[in-house]
Subunit: 281 residues, 6 copies
């Protein structure tokens, strides 16, 4: 069993296939191709990037042709050069062509996320900062997109509203202060739940640290304030920088000494990686 169980990926793949097949299936292939024709093809990358999502491509094809063969050349997490063959497939022709768009939609999108993540990771190489994602993911694809971030060398922030505490400005306002918010959160949740608190201003830091949160998120801080916060914290909590992070700004942010830099763009604005399915003539 691979890292992401097929049971979880299948649900996404089947839903995607059903969306594309509609009520009548692939009417073009049914009209043009005889039912027993078989094809060989390769998934080939048009320009270099980091791969994520080959299991999705494989499952899309296997769902329509359980007898299909799928052989991986460059696995998830690999950086493949332009033109590289990622995988070879042999399958029923109608099944392969019907699954093609679903396979590519997932593979190109996830590889796009992995590739962009890898760029952020490279831009911060040698600093101690980790690049992490956010919950700004595509509805229905969160687990896959966070997997793609890992393929690109990034790390995951929380997966949902339920698996970790993240106290934001509205929570602080409702509680009357950062400290009270952390105290309420700690009292409410179990020992397996981490607690992070977001602050907007440097002068909230001491109050936050007094409650010993696991992580403090500094939202839209200047570089100087980030550095000062790192200094004051002195390792008592992890420090996460958030807001206004781009490939241009990320290295300077990392060099302030923060532990984590969260980047919404990894999942909400990554262009796809251009991968195609080339059928053998």
């Amino acid at each position: 069993m691979s890292e992401l169980p097929d049971l979880l990926v299948q649900a996404v793949v089947r839903h995607a296939l059903a969306e594309d097949l509609g009520r009548a299936g692939d009417i073009t292939s049914s009209a043009c191709i005889s039912p027993d024709t078989r094809l060989e093809a390769v998934f080939a990358i048009r320009k270099q990037g980091v791969i994520a999502g080959l299991a999705c491509a494989r499952l899309a094809i296997v769902e329509l042709d359980p007898g299909a063969r799928f052989e991986i050349v460059h696995a998830d997490g690999a950086r493949a050069p332009a033109g590289a063959i990622l995988a070879r497939v042999e399958a029923n022709a109608r099944a392969l062509l019907a699954a093609e768009r679903t396979a590519l939609n997932l593979l190109c999108r996830l590889s796009g996320i992995a590739t962009l993540t890898a760029q952020f990771v490279a831009a911060t190489a040698g600093t101690g900062a980790r690049i992490v994602d956010t919950r700004k993911t595509t509805p229905g694809l969160r687990a896959l997109e966070k997997y793609a971030v890992r393929c690109g060398g990034g790390a995951n922030h929380r997966f949902g509203l339920d698996d970790a505490i993240l106290i934001k400005d509205n929570h602080v306002a409702a509680c009357g202060g950062v400290g009270e918010a952390v105290r309420r959160a700690r009292a409410a949740v179990g020992h397996m739940v981490k607690i992070e608190v977001e602050i907007d201003r440097l002068d909230q830091l001491d109050e936050a640290l007094a409650e010993a949160p696991d992580i403090v998120m500094l939202d839209n801080f200047s570089l100087a304030d980030l550095a000062e916060a790192v200094r004051r914290t002195g390792g008592r909590a992890l420090i996460e920088a958030s807001g206004g992070v781009s490939l241009e700004t990320v290295r300077a942010i990392a060099e302030t000494g923060v532990d984590l830099i969260s980047v919404g763009a990894l999942t909400h604005s990554a262009p796809i990686l251009d991968i195609g399915l080339d059928v053998d003539a």
Copy 2:
């Protein structure tokens, strides 16, 4: 009932909420905010763009608080200036904060598509060419993303493998020629189904036109060949240009006289439009 029935949007919204709420729901808001607190807030746009998806945002909130009020200021399809308020909402505080990310994930993504589409439409203004989307959509969100393309002034290509014929190179190869492929397709489908055939070279055009397809797609043609194909076709079929279309190249393509330009990037690589939920202090 609006253009996209709530029944269809609800399925996406509920799935997205369930993905974010996980097993235990919004543990931070449950810990920090009392159950009966109510909030007023606005959806505000950070930089100008074209709006799409307010129904998703509304439904996300209403699913968690059926008593929420949601008042639209700039409706779907409108171009809103930076800083504009798109909608005002009043709702239970826990419900609003739990729904916030789902609402924004859908609204920002769809508005990003609408905004990018509008840029392509603007770039071809005054030509006869329409900007159309593709099936390179996010799995699970196709109907919503194609709706966003319409909000941006674009038009929709087929919605799936089942609602129109699109004969591509592999189908042509299996049939032994463009003409035979169109004939097989016409024999196989009903009178309510349009037939489009893709060609890779100008010398396939006459064979294609001889079978009177509704549309001929010219894949990766030079500008000169596009223009020549338009001239030769003389209105006997719609002509669609496809491949290598960008904001830089689209106007020149449109000026060749093609009827349709399909742009995968509308849905596979549009960055989000930055919209936030600002809670009233």
Copy 3:
């Protein structure tokens, strides 16, 4: 992969099996038959007809016994004589008996539709008219029933509200006229969508044709008016006759020169074709 992907048929078959198995499964077979007994049986037709739905029968059995063998003798679309064996099956006895009713309910119903369709097709042989179905299908079985119509030699009308335009009297009334309705429809939809408009009176024909719809439906026209409409149209659009079509009237309608005759009864009132499962003694 056959014309109708297993992925689509499986959903119907599983739902049907679950409905019949209920909470406790086939309690009679569990009580009377030992778990490892195997049976051989044949699907046999009681009186002649056109077959449709063998994949449903096969999947029903295979869902309950993945090791079952199912060998087709008369495939979908074939006309089988009374008494003919359609398929041979070898399977676990409990599984076969539990699947029997589900298999037959689908096979008999779809073959009934194919058989009735073939009668309409035969009745119009030699004319240029095609027999087409409607959306008057059984909820949940539309794709299967439209497939059965194709097995019987008919063609399919649109599959749903979303894949083609069909302007009816209420739409015309809302738009203030046939022409305006077609114009609004054309402006609203993409280039892959066909447009059909229904008229109730001959004097609406010219206004309709002026907007160049793909198809004009003549609802409940007399034979004389049908012929006159065909003459006036002169090939500028396809002409579909609708309303009051029976096996007695269909040939006369076809001989007016219409292109298409839609028959709701194909799917809403076809008696089943009597097929049984005969277990080898």
Copy 4:
């Protein structure tokens, strides 16, 4: 709460609406009718029959317009004369037209079953025999179709494989005899489960009755054998006649004194009852 809980009917109605709306919804109504238009309409019957399924029609409309009004004139179970108005509805125009086909597909089909059932019931009036249905129902609609049988004055046989024992020829063969089959069944199931055994020949009757089944089904017996079986049974079990029952033969069968006559055609071959939705001009 009515006899059939909305919770059960909703699942069917939503599935049917989703099937018809497809990915893009009712594109014709969206193009032709403004979003806030409202319509008044009536469900009217074209020729007399027995009504079943108004709740389906109501729910189809209410699902798309929760604010719709639906007023019943002739309720389920009533015999309505040709031309009668069954219900009046006021709703959003787009919602009403989008729901129309789903509402009618269910209402016409169920009323067709109720009407055919009522004909069988009328044909046996004055005898002691009840008309009962079978499991030869449309996959996905069993509960609704059995409800329609009740609306027509018939009674229900078992609802699935799990709620009663019905020992058929293959079970008898596996057990080595009718008596052993009944004994095994009785030992296997609880006290809330009725036991019926099918026999093919009169000479099996005594062996069957010796085990005191609740019901004995006589499959394809002659009228003489039916009468003889009734006489021999003398009330020790209910007697059900099955096989070859038509409107022509049913009265003679009933007059043999059998308690129950099961008729597959009630659900597998009933033509629809013609009902239309007439929009007020």
Copy 5:
């Protein structure tokens, strides 16, 4: 095919696995164990009991590793001694560890029910009374829990609100009396449905028996009244004792001569049977 079809069990098992895997799957095993490691293990019972649910355990593992081997030693329904090995399994290590808790949660719970049932059955050995369950089952697990009761030697009461009539005090009150309630029930349901009526006092018995119900339930009767009711009934109906049944009281109840004793605790309060998965070192 075993008694409980895999199709029914799979739905429960997949839902349980999805609940445990959450969004990211088994992150501990993914981190610590290489993807191709295989393990051998045994399901071993810690103290003696009656087994039920091995199919659940097998399916949980096979869902995550279709190539897993699962060999049963003590089958469902067997009484296994403390320390006994129930089944041996060989599977992918990540899959086995990810499935372990789901497999055990179902197996231990169902075996707990079987074991408790067997204790009640043993306590009434030699009397004519059968131990039966109730509808006080775990939501979502009713069919499995009633199967476990059968494994323990008990019998099943009705499976839901729809498969048999059980008239209780509120129904009697609404009808104005026990007799009228039975009459209404008999008129409403088909011949395959058994009718049981609950009475609270001995003086209701004659009125109940006059309507010939299949079963009379005596709710919270004293031992003396139970015996008197059995005597008065004289075999005209089955007698079920209900209320206040425990392992201490059940034999005395059985000795009154009642036919059935229903015990809610079988399914609502059975402690689990302690079974573990021991991995071979």
Copy 6:
């Protein structure tokens, strides 16, 4: 919005209602009670306990009668005395009786868990140890059962395999040691994930602590070893005791100074709390 969103509870409640209603609904109430009758009733507790799950009871009724009124007297988390009224309800009679068993099955089960939890909490009062649950929950009900544990004063361990790391003996064996296992886990997961490691012997403690896990679980340690482990740890990690915990042993365990005591029986073996629905005469 309450702590557990209705959206999550509804899925469980609807599934439970569908399981009980089956194909035909509550046939007894449909037969005996007229459709418009209304009832008033109270949920009353038979012996004292801690309440959990009133939202489930309310939703079960409201799903079948959206107009029902439900007024809570003793809310979730309250300790109610024997005989106390927990809630008053007024609803359609058929809906109320059809929902009764589903409402009670959930309410009694969850209140049973809350009550047993409260007993463990009381038994450790005054020590620093918290009572926590496990993943030994009922498949499909985990979120509800963990909520019930919170109602009883306990705290939650992890919710699934995906939201926290718990390294057990098999993981340690695969990694070759406790320390390596923790290192691999830390490298694999994000900063929002807590890490717990289980040890079987005191001599593993130092190796574990050297890697600074958040929690160390001591599996089946003697009281002396527990105390020694607490002493050696000196607050560097939380200490959780696990295995062989009962109401008899829990206080002694708590007094060793451990931080957490996990108790599987809270969810796998809690008897229900006896609550009934009493209809007003």
